[in-house]
Subunit: 173 residues, 2 copies
């Protein structure tokens, strides 16, 4: 079970970045995406729209008290992993991280509060350079290598050497 | 040599996504980032600002004729790799891609023109689900595993278990 938590979402300014984070979470094995900051119905609808077209794999939820949410997950046996460029390089913790069954992967957020660093079991850097929470999440999930299952998709891509091939699954008999 | 090409940049709407793409390119081993679409001085300045603080690793350039730019690279022996969810899964081409010396990695772009699919030597999918060009680029570069060198940084992060440690390299004697 992988839960992804996106901190401090801001409507308009973060809409596309948070949307990319949610789609990356969905594509690479997270079963839940929780965001804090501004409640954003348009964001939630756009992710649910992707789910209805490309297959159900992940729920999206809003939390208005993210520290409480994180404490609850921790008490239920989830390991909290905060991705930050200030953390320990992921290469040094790969075996430990891959052995976990239940985890919450936390990504910023414009300003990450100090208590996120302390409540987290691991502060992990995907490279100690500034880049992107979208890429950090993608690389982390790629390393974990969980397979996502996409249920009842209307659209399925057939991989192609140099074009676009999509089948309409809902028209099948 | 890894060059990253970002297609069809739009000022305002794409500023943060393109900026994330450029920072990911820089963090994970690209030596040049070329973008097409709208010329965006603010974008270029923000990347150069990161370079001056965190170390020189990558140039950023604008192209007003991206097909010509791509043809020039191809004629100079670069292999063109277009990342698209419609392509062949990266897992099936890893050995080939890792063996390349000089490559251009191309990412969209709201609408990627058909000729990008045909000029590219490889159309590669990082998962056949919709997600993010930022994550696709990050995972691709992570798989390639090139080490970036960051020259003359003013700031260097010391990896930390649960805090932020940054040294000011320019104050050192």
């Amino acid at each position: 079970m992988i839960v992804v938590v996106r901190l401090g979402h801001r409507i308009v300014r973060d809409q596309r970045i948070t949307s990319h984070c949610a789609l990356v979470a969905r594509a690479f094995g997270a079963s839940k995406f929780i965001y804090s900051g501004d409640k954003d119905t348009a964001l939630e609808n756009s992710i649910r729209n992707v789910e209805s077209r490309w297959g159900q794999a992940m729920e999206i939820e809003y939390s208005d008290n993210i520290m409480k949410t994180l404490r609850n997950y921790k008490e239920s046996g989830y390991v909290l992993i905060h991705l930050t460029m200030y953390g320990i390089p992921v290469e040094e913790r790969i075996q430990t991280l891959k052995s976990l069954d239940k985890m919450v992967i936390i990504i910023g957020g414009s300003r990450v509060p100090r208590e996120i660093y302390t409540i987290s079991d691991y502060n992990i850097a995907i490279g100690n350079q500034p880049h992107s929470e979208v890429a950090a999440l993608g690389i982390m999930l790629h390393i974990l290598g969980k397979r996502a299952e996409f249920k009842n998709p209307k659209l399925i891509i057939i991989p192609s050497e140099n074009g676009k091939r999509v089948i309409r699954n809902d028209l099948k008999q």
